[in-house]
Each structure stands twice: as structure tokens, then as C-alpha cells.
Symmetry: D2
């Protein structure tokens, strides 16, 4: 828990402070072994139940580029990528995440990863030949929060397609941007990922210091991953970046043209958190994919940490459009190292959905403004009470 002492309110309505205004009473043990030096989120290993349907979604519609494929697995990458893949679609019986995979700076960082996780009793598996094609020596772990994390350095190089405009579509995805994980106790998760070397860039809190979500980075963008408060461990979404906002609108248009608009869950819109323009889709298995563009540089060590008030209805959509309930409640299972789904534990802290939309919720556009929410917004913000 935390408080707003030491935070400075900005002219945009949120607060800034120095990392990190989050404290936990129930920390994961901090290893004495140094953490591996993570470069960036690199790929997600995703289990899908209908490979053909998933291929249609990710390749034919979203336009990810196929590096390699066979009857059971498809290796995909974004335009700008030069490592083998950013997304693996793997045929399996249960839709789930097999790994959140990070690239580390050196081969030696894999030894560090083994030591780091072994010290705190996590299950660790290392495969010199890698878990996926195109990737070499890799370490997979069941992390203390129950997430399957992977670390690797070596990858086959493939051609960066940034100059191949002849292959690009109106909604071209240029980069893997970040992961997002659902976990019951956000401060506990934040503290652990700080131990792993992540830096907090933004979070959402209430006045009592309840933390609803936090964004954490290695590369100098707003995040490589985020912890979203909820029943977990589950995967909230994986996000790809486009160059411009119209690229994201083009994806919506294409889904409409294909009569697949029901793949759109939320957006497009402008985030308050991250200042990025966004869209959330659901793939044929219900895995959530975000399309994202134009956050900001966070690479300085004293980068100001931003805290949004949970009742500020511009925090998740800067235009005040309410979050749909499914976005809060639905997420993908994650697998243990044997390929079985991790059990999901219930969040016991307050629910962001409950405190903001629906019967018990409260949100404001202008803090302290007594004017009622206008008629056209009331219906939207009371949506939650139907659940």
C-alpha cells in the first residue's frame, strides 16, 4: 500500500513521483543472485486450439509475417523484427500461454537466470537447443507468481522487412511492444519484477493506496510487461505496435469488411496510462491482442513515475469511454512447464471494475466537479451492474 504523500499532481490530472510508489506486505523473497540483464520482451509462445483459424487471424487479417511453419506450429514476426519470431502459434488442447519470452543481453545471462530462480525455489528448465525453432539456449521457469517465463539470447537472424513496403498492409504491425499479466496482488508482483530488473513507469491507485495495475519496462518504452489486478496467474494480452494511428483504424475497417468486427473487444481509443493509441482484439481462442502506438521514452533512470487515480475516468481511456466488463474479467490461462494450466487464484484486493463502473462504482471527468455525469455517459458507466 502507498499514499499520495510525495506525489506531485500535474496539470493533466495525474500524479508524478520517483520509482516506485508501491509497497508490499507480502513480498516474494529477493534473490541474492543478480538478475539476468533483460533486453526486451521478445515473443509469446501461444497455444491455440484451431491452428488454421489462428493463422487466418494473425496472418491473413493482421498481416504478421511467417518465418516458418509446419502442421503444428507457426512462427510469426512483425515487420521490424530481425530475430526469428515474436509469436509462436502452437496447436494444443487448451488455449493458453506456454511462455512469456524475454531476450537477454548475453549468453551468460542464462546462467544468471538459472541461479536467480533456483535460489528462490522456482522450477527451472534449461534447453541448450531451445524450446522453439530459430532460438538457441533457453531457460524456462515457473516464476513465483505462477507465470511461465523464458529467457534466451541466441536467435537466428531473419530479414528486417521495414523497407519492404511492397509487403505491407494498411494495418501493418511493426513491433512486439509488450505483454500484460493478470495477478491477484499487484504490489507483490511489482516488487518481484523490480527484483528481476524492471522499472515501474505508471500505475493506478486509489486514495487508500490500493494498487490496481502497474506498468514496468526494460526497453525504454512504457512497458515490456504490466501487472493487472485480477484472478491469476493469467495472460491479459500481448501487444503489437503500428507506426501510426490510421494503421490501427485500418485493422478495424478490415475486420468490418470481413464481417469479423466481433473480434473487436474495446477501442480504438487513447489510453490515459501510456498516452498510447490502442485497440483490443480477441483471437479465435479468445486470447486478447492489443494494437498500440505512440507511447513515450522512459529510458532515463529518474523517469517520473505516473500514478493515476482509479476514479479518474480518463485513466484507461483518455476520452472517457468506459472499459467493457469482459476486459476486466476475461483472460487466458497460462501453463506450467509440463504444459498443464496453472490454477487461478482469486484477487482479494478491491476490484477496479467494481469501484469504477456498475452499481457501486464511481468515476469523474473533473475531480471535485459536482456536476452529474451527463445523461449520455450514465448508461455506459452503469453497464457493469448487469454482470
Amino acid at each position: 500500500m502507498s499514499h499520495r504523500d510525495g506525489m506531485t499532481k500535474t496539470s493533466s490530472g495525474f500524479f508524478v513521483s520517483q520509482e516506485a510508489p508501491i509497497r508490499t506486505d507480502d513480498p516474494v523473497q529477493t534473490p541474492t543472485s543478480p538478475a539476468p540483464d533483460i533486453l526486451r520482451c521478445a515473443y509469446m509462445d501461444l497455444v491455440v486450439t484451431d491452428l488454421a483459424a489462428s493463422r487466418q487471424f494473425y496472418v491473413d487479417i493482421l498481416g504478421l509475417h511467417v518465418t516458418e511453419e509446419d502442421d503444428d506450429v507457426i512462427y510469426l514476426r512483425s515487420t521490424e523484427e530481425f530475430i526469428h519470431h515474436n509469436l509462436v502459434l502452437r496447436k494444443g488442447p487448451v488455449a493458453a500461454v506456454a511462455a512469456f519470452s524475454y531476450r537477454v543481453r548475453t549468453p551468460e545471462d542464462l546462467d544468471r537466470a538459472v541461479a536467480f530462480y533456483s535460489e528462490i525455489g522456482c522450477r527451472v528448465e534449461r534447453r541448450p537447443e531451445g524450446f522453439t525453432k530459430g532460438i538457441g539456449d533457453s531457460v524456462r521457469v515457473e516464476d513465483p507468481l505462477g507465470f511461465p517465463y523464458e529467457f534466451f539470447h541466441q536467435s537466428e537472424h531473419v530479414e528486417r522487412l521495414s523497407w519492404r513496403y511492397d509487403l505491407q498492409i494498411p494495418g501493418e504491425l511493426v513491433r512486439l511492444d509488450h505483454f500484460n499479466q493478470v495477478t491477484p496482488d499487484v504490489p507483490r508482483a511489482v516488487r518481484h519484477y523490480q527484483d528481476l530488473g524492471f522499472r515501474v513507469t505508471e500505475d493506478i491507485q486509489d486514495e487508500d493506496g490500493t494498487v490496481y495495475a502497474a506498468w514496468m519496462r526494460r526497453k525504454p518504452t512504457v512497458h515490456d510487461t504490466a501487472a493487472t489486478g485480477g484472478d491469476g496467474p493469467r495472460m491479459h494480452h500481448v501487444a503489437f505496435a503500428t507506426h501510426e494511428k490510421h494503421n490501427i483504424l485500418a485493422i478495424c475497417d478490415k475486420l468490418g469488411a470481413l464481417r469479423r468486427s466481433d473480434a473487436i473487444e474495446r477501442g480504438p481509443g487513447r489510453h490515459g496510462v501510456s498516452n498510447a493509441f490502442y485497440l483490443y482484439l480477441r483471437d479465435p481462442d479468445g486470447h486478447r491482442v492489443e494494437i498500440y502506438t505512440q507511447d513515450y521514452y522512459t529510458g532515463d533512470p529518474d523517469n517520473p513515475v505516473i500514478t493515476w487515480d482509479v476514479h479518474d475516468n480518463q485513466r484507461r481511456d483518455f476520452w472517457g469511454n468506459p472499459v467493457v466488463p469482459s476486459w476486466y474479467t476475461e483472460a487466458s490461462l497460462v501453463l506450467d512447464l509440463d504444459g498443464n494450466p496453472q490454477p487461478v487464484r482469486t484477487r482479494e484486493h478491491r476490484s477496479e471494475m467494481a469501484v469504477t463502473i456498475g452499481a457501486d462504482g464511481f468515476s469523474y471527468t473533473r475531480e471535485g466537479d459536482d456536476e452529474a455525469m451527463p445523461s449520455w455517459k450514465q448508461g455506459e458507466y452503469k453497464l457493469g451492474n448487469q454482470l
Copy 2:
């Protein structure tokens, strides 16, 4: 009422036919006098209750250009306009529309307007000096549907600001695009406006031929005005065009920055009808303003008329985002020629909101697809039952 015989289903899911698949059993009398030759919708004369608040909205936020103003009236124009104004903000006791004003081709068309409306018993008032500054000889009428319509030809010319990029903002409004009127009986309204020379470009119907809305044009865009089924006569919205989609997103961003995001009622999104990109705002009096861009050329006499199925949930938002209830139910009063609000008559035909969202509604993304609406859409489409 109408039927789908003679309509051709397109690969996009809507139907095309020749003008106009709409018939009325209760027509307004067709005048024998020829209709005035209308060029385009030219300006709206809008009564607002707090002129300073309205000036802030239309000038400081939306960036319309002030041609002239005094303590009681502000004359505004869009970037591209060379006539005196596209919007008049007039201080008054009740928020309402004083006139939907159209420009006609010649001075003689005003004589035609007088004869056309007099013949069918409408109240007509002509002022050689005009009803608003900058505009000459004008005719105002209470039209058979209860709307205050104005016709004029002469206007002072002002400088077109299209090349004055130094004055332009990220959300620059370049043109007045159209009006939208709420009226209980859409086929009756369509037939009357066809008599006045309008051509139907698109409409929304159900399989029984109930017409929920129709779009009609003089200039070769999708519309100069539209008839939306509902309690009327009321004004649904006035629409301004931007050049590009990002200009519309910039308006949302600016409203967020100013903590005025509750002015956003619906969108941004892509319309099915018109294929335009859109956003709906509410001004300080609740008058609805649409921002709109990129519909299509309709100027050929055999331009295909498009009919959308009312149950097609991509008709009003091509991305399947549901319409908020207030958008269906709320609208502005219109004034008679004495400045008193016209009484509002209830729509007796079916309600588009009732048949599409909420407890009784039904909508599909893919016609004939038995799959249930996904979980993330169900909540949104059941929104209506709270009203």
C-alpha cells in the same frame, strides 16, 4: 413501406437498388410549383443559453473561425467556407434550432421557395435584408414536418482560409457537411424532401419495410440532411467535416486534455451508412455535433441507393460498437417562426433502439451465423434494457 424485391445484396452485406426503395401511405401534398434549386446545406441558426460557454466550445475547442460577433450573436465558419457563416450561435432562453439554412442557385429560387411552400399551406416569411448578418434576401418557412427551413442565395464573401495553415489546429473543421433531423414518420419525410429536390443515397430498413432512417443529398456527398426516426420535429445533429481521420482523433485528445471528455457521446468510429469516419459530441446545451470525414461521391443520377438491414450491427458502426441509448433518444427542439418551440410528436413506428439493443433487440455481425454474440459484446448490446 417497402420490400427487398428489386434490391441486390452486395459482398459487403448491404443491398443496392435504384432510388428510392421507400414508399409512404401518408404523403405530404406534392406542390405543383417547382422546387427551389438547392445547392447545399449552408448554415444552422442555433439558439444557445450561455453564449460564453458556447463560444468556448465552438471557437476555443473546435476552432471554428469567427467572421463577426457581438454580445448576442456569433457568426462562425469552417476553414474552406467563403460565404459569411456556417453556424450562428444566438443567445436565447431555450436551447433550440432557429433554422436549417440552405443556399439556392439563384435569387429567383427564393420566389420558387415562396410559391412551393405557400401552395401547401406552410407559414412563410421573407426578409429582403436577411435573418442573419452577412446574408441577403431570405425565405424562412415552417415546413410540413414542422422544421424551420431557410433558403437564401446572396451572401457576403469572406476569405477562404484553406491556405492559412498558420491558423489551423490539429482538429481543423474544413466544411459544414450536413444536418440530421428527427421525425416520427421517415417515409413521409423522405417523400416530402424528394419533392423539394433531394435524392436518397442510403437508408435503414427491416425486412418488413419499416424505414428507420434515410439520408438525402443535394450536393454530391451522402447527404445534406437525413431523416432519423423518432419523436419530432427535433434536430438530431449538425455535422462538420475534417480532412483526415487523425483530425477527429485530435478533437478527442484535446477534449481529454481539457477534462472535457464528457462532451464525447459516441465514437469515434467508422459508419456503415456513408462509410465515413465519425465522432459525436454534445455542446454545452446538449446540441449534438458530428465530426465526419471521407464519405463518397453520389452525384450521378443513377447513383446506387444503399439499404442496410436494421439488424446488421455494422450499419451504424462498421466495427460493431453499439450505439449509446442517448444517441437514439435525445435531440434538440426546433423553433417556429415566432421563436417558440415546436411541439414534439411521438414516433409510432418501431424504434431502432428497441429492435437492436437491450432486452428486445437482436443484432448480428454475420447474417445467418448461428454463433452467439461473444461475451465481450453481449454486455454492450444489452445496455438498452436499463433505460
Copy 3:
């Protein structure tokens, strides 16, 4: 010849007046027969020498949609079009234009076209079955300026692809916008096309009243065709519109990716004349194609006519980038009704290129500003003297 009396200088540096500040001492005879009522430029019938190479350019690169094709002819249309085609590529021995084709309002307008041209001694050919597939009763003429003009009303309807975002590419061409014709005597051409019903929207003149080019419209955009002063009759370019500026940049990017960037002749840039964003390409035969977006509405009868000073270096490129000499000197042959190239007559009036760039030219950014052109612009503006 004309003078600047009666013109008003705007804050943007050009002049406005009422139509049309152009007079000719050598007019074509004005027919007493009424002109056909032209709706819009509809398609160009283009002879190409290598059909496969042209198909690659217009279909594979520019993404025009094939309505129909065989070994000798390809019929192409833009996204928004519902008539059969906007461009015909016809295999032939000499690269040239076989027809500038306009759609007229009614079948009877074809009789008017026959009478109009017959009266002034032009060669006329009428084919009830049309000259191209998908088009019915048509009239072709050798007009008084030597151009092959076609008029038709009837066309097969095809599906408008505006909602088919799944078929669209980053550089999607949505509309045929205009033609541009090279002719030695611009005032003579303007007067003739005014007789045919065109209205002047903009022109370029010097202080002595020499007219270098004029833009003329039927539909309410800046032009359906333009007269560019030069050796003629020749075709300067045919122009297609995109929705947004980034679509035009995407065409450049694709040409770069395909190592076909030498197809770019001039631009991209912002026109002074028309205020549109533009790009000029050259097809495999050297036919010039413009890509164009965002001019302004011109449909009012008193639409202000804009006159640009020929020495204003922002007139053709509002950013002051000089015109490349080939753009002034190169153009396509046009055919007579037997399919033979029309002889080209030399322009005897002043040359825009000579008076603006090169050894004898003079251009200014700020009129009356004594400061020399900066070093980085001098080289560019002296380019012409190498020819």
C-alpha cells in the same frame, strides 16, 4: 489577355475574382446548340505499348481494380466507382490517349453533343454500342482544340468497393479526379470549354495577363480538366484521388521497395493551385499519372476564382519546391478518331518554365522582398538552364 483590375489580393498571396478573368482574341466559334450536361470526367482510354508492363504498374503497384480484361484491353476502376471503369489500357503501337471520356446526365445529352460539335464543324462519331466494354451509346469527337473527347450516359453498374477494406492497400486510389490537357493557347481553350459548360476555378497569369494554365470543373471540385499551356494537343496527366496524404506517401514507399522509384517524376508536395496534396508518376510508356487528395468544394455559382501570379514560387508547390523541367516539356500524344496521333502545334505565348526557372526565370517566395533566394534554393531554381 487579362489584368489584375477587379481582383482582390488575399492574405495567402493570390488573387480572387469572379469567373473568369480570362479573355481570348482568337475564340473557337460558340455553338448555338446547347451543350450536353456533363456530370464529371469518367474515364481515360489510354493506348499502351506493353500491356503486361502497364498492368503491373496500374494493378500490381497502384492497386486499381480490374473489372474485366482480355489479351488486348484491361478495364480498371477505383475503389469508389460504380460505373464499369475509370481507365482503359489498350494495347497499341504508339503510346497515346484515345479518349478523354465524360459522363453526361441523360441519354438525350448525346444528341446535344452531336449537334454541338457538328455545328462547329468537328468530326463526330456515334456508336450506340459504345467504344469500350461496359459502356453504352457514346459520342466521340475531335474537338476544336484537337482532343479526342467522348460523352456517354449508359454504363453497366459494378460493385462499389468502398466498404471492402479487405481488398485495399496502403496507397488505395478511391476516385478518378481529373484530366489535364496541354494546349498552346490557354485562353482559347478556356473559352471553348466554358461554352461546353465548364467553370474556371483557378488560373496562373503574369502581370501582363498572359495565362499559363487554367483549371475547370463540372463536378464541384477544383477540376474535371485543366488547360496547361504548351505544345499541343497533348495529354499532360490523368489524376486519381486517395483519401489521405499518407496513402500518397505509401505509393512512394512501395515504389522505393520495388526499386521503381524512378517512376516518381515530381513530388510529393502540396499544390498552391487547388490546395491539394500531390504526387506525379510516369507509367511504363511515360504517361503521367497524378495522385491527388484534399482540394475544396467549388459548387456554388459565385465560387471565387483564384489567380496565382506566375512568379509566385508557391503557386505549383506551396512549399516552394521547384517544378522539374520534364513536367513542363513532356506529355502524351492524343489520337484522332482514326487512331492516328494528332499533330502537335507549338505554343507561341510565353513559357511558364522560361519565366520561372532557369537562366531567364524569376520567382519569389515573398512578393517585394528584396532578400536574395537562399543558397539552398538557388541551385534548384537555376536547374532549367541546362535544357
Copy 4:
């Protein structure tokens, strides 16, 4: 000098290899002291001769935000910045660069900077109170290539304006992106900056291994600075980033509207090197400013280094538009630590301008293609021979 052995040709026409395909026969001594850990290029300290004219250019036109100003100095920042400034405009007698300033990770890195440069005999000056307002302890040096380099860690924090869309203009500059330095011997410069911790991302070479320019980064973009071959030490340009391409076009449009289009030196266009969209302006003193958007992530240690052939005419403009001669020949003086201009030494290696445009130059669009450059490109590429 280098060779193409070990390079792999890509499908886009350039080569990739591992860092760095550049070798020097005349290296600067490599210090044994460790280099300071540079985060990123942070600000340029720029001497201007007319402060009011410069303020108009950078504030009124380009929209940089004033953090602080007095009669002699103006401190400016981009939208996203939270340190005190990205650009200092300082009134002085000779237009020049007083410092290229980099932010380092820790206060201790300033000790490292002192040791690093002292060891190799460079003049070093440290000021605990900083050289500019808002910045603390700073080290300035005359680096071995003659450039005034600054290093600092401490800065006052100011509000990041990313969410303040109400303050933003169509051409909003969001980030300082990079510097560019002119130096006679590029391999020597590269080697020295590698010693300082920079990584090469791209370069331009000929088949003999002559290096014409190289791009080097600390933050994971294509560069924080670049070495451009030419008479030096001089400053080639300072670059700011926008979010989207239309923002850059808006700057051109605004310059046109203000009749300041002669500030545009080159572009807009797409770079081959960096894949970014660009524009080059010249400020009132002739200092060159680039506006830049959308390069790619380079943060992995094995990021492929790209080598462009100097004769590839898509290397500097991917659309094949030739570079104007002034862009090669003109640049700004740099100052020594006493504020006197550094003497300029002539480049003795081959000149990129001479080998590519003008009388002696040679460029190709498709390597090995025998077809002559088309007529419309010849004039442009022969431009250089007038100098």
C-alpha cells in the same frame, strides 16, 4: 577502409553485417579509462545572431515549448521532455554550436568523462553549477575531432506535456532525436565514438570501402549522432521527432502559409538510411534542423549493421529524389571552450556529392540495370555540376 566481404545483401538492396564494417588507419588514441555511460543526446546549445528571429522560428513556427527565457537565452523543450530543455538559443556574435550535450546515467559518469578525455589530452572544463540553467554538474570538452561535447546527469524536472493536447499544434515536435556532425575522416570519428560507447547502426560506403557517413546510437534508435563526411568539425543538423508523417507535412504547410517556404532545404521524403520520414529546414542563421519520424528499434547487441552503397540513389532518399548540393556543402561552425569558432579542416577522402550527382557522378535505382535514368531524373541528378 572496409570491404563487402562478410556483408549479406538484402532483398531491399542494401547490405547487413555485424558491427562495424569500418576500419581506420589513423585512429584517435583509445583511453584506458572507462567511458561515461551515455543515456542519450539531450540538448544542443546553439548560438544565434538574432534572438527574436530565432524565437519566432523555434517557438512560433515549430512550436517548441519555452521552459524559461530572458533577454539573452531561451530554453526550449519538446512535448515529451521532462528535463529542463532540449535546445538552448543563446544570443551571440557568430552563429555556431556551443555544445552537443548528452545525459549520462549517474553523477559518477562525470568523473569518468573527465578521466576519459584528460587521458587523451583533450581540454576539459567542469562546472558543478552547470553551463546552462536547469542543469547541474556538467563537463564540457573539446573532443579529439574538435567538437564541443557536454555531459551531465542532474537536471530540474519539468512537466511532460504529452497529455496536454490543448497545447499541441499540427506539426508538434515530441522528442529530440539526434545530432549530426560533419567531420573529414568518418572512420576515424566512428572509431573514437565507439570508444565512447556508441554503436554503429548504418553507414554509406563505396565498393572500395570509402566511408561517406555513419550513424551511431546510445538509446535504441538509429542514432544519437552521426558522422557525415565533409569539411569539419561542423554541425550538420539537430533533429526533432514527430509522432506521425502528417505532422511533418503540417510544418511545410505552415511555412507555406507564412511565406517562409524558403526555410525548406530538402524533403519531405523517406530516408533509405534509418527508414525514417524526414524534412530539413534552415533556421534564420542557416542552422539546419531535421524533422524526423519512425525509424526502428536497435537496442539488441547483435542489431544488424546496414551498409548502403553510395551509388544507390535510394540511400538518402528512398524515393530517389536527389540531395540538393547545399545539404552536402553547408553546415554550422562549432565553438571551442573559449567560445571561438573551431578552424575547419578540409575532407580529403572522396566527396559523396561528387560521386553521385553532377558532372562526375553516377547513381542507380536498380543495380546492374542498363536502362538509362529516365529524362525526368537526368536533370535533377546533373544539378551538381553548376556549383
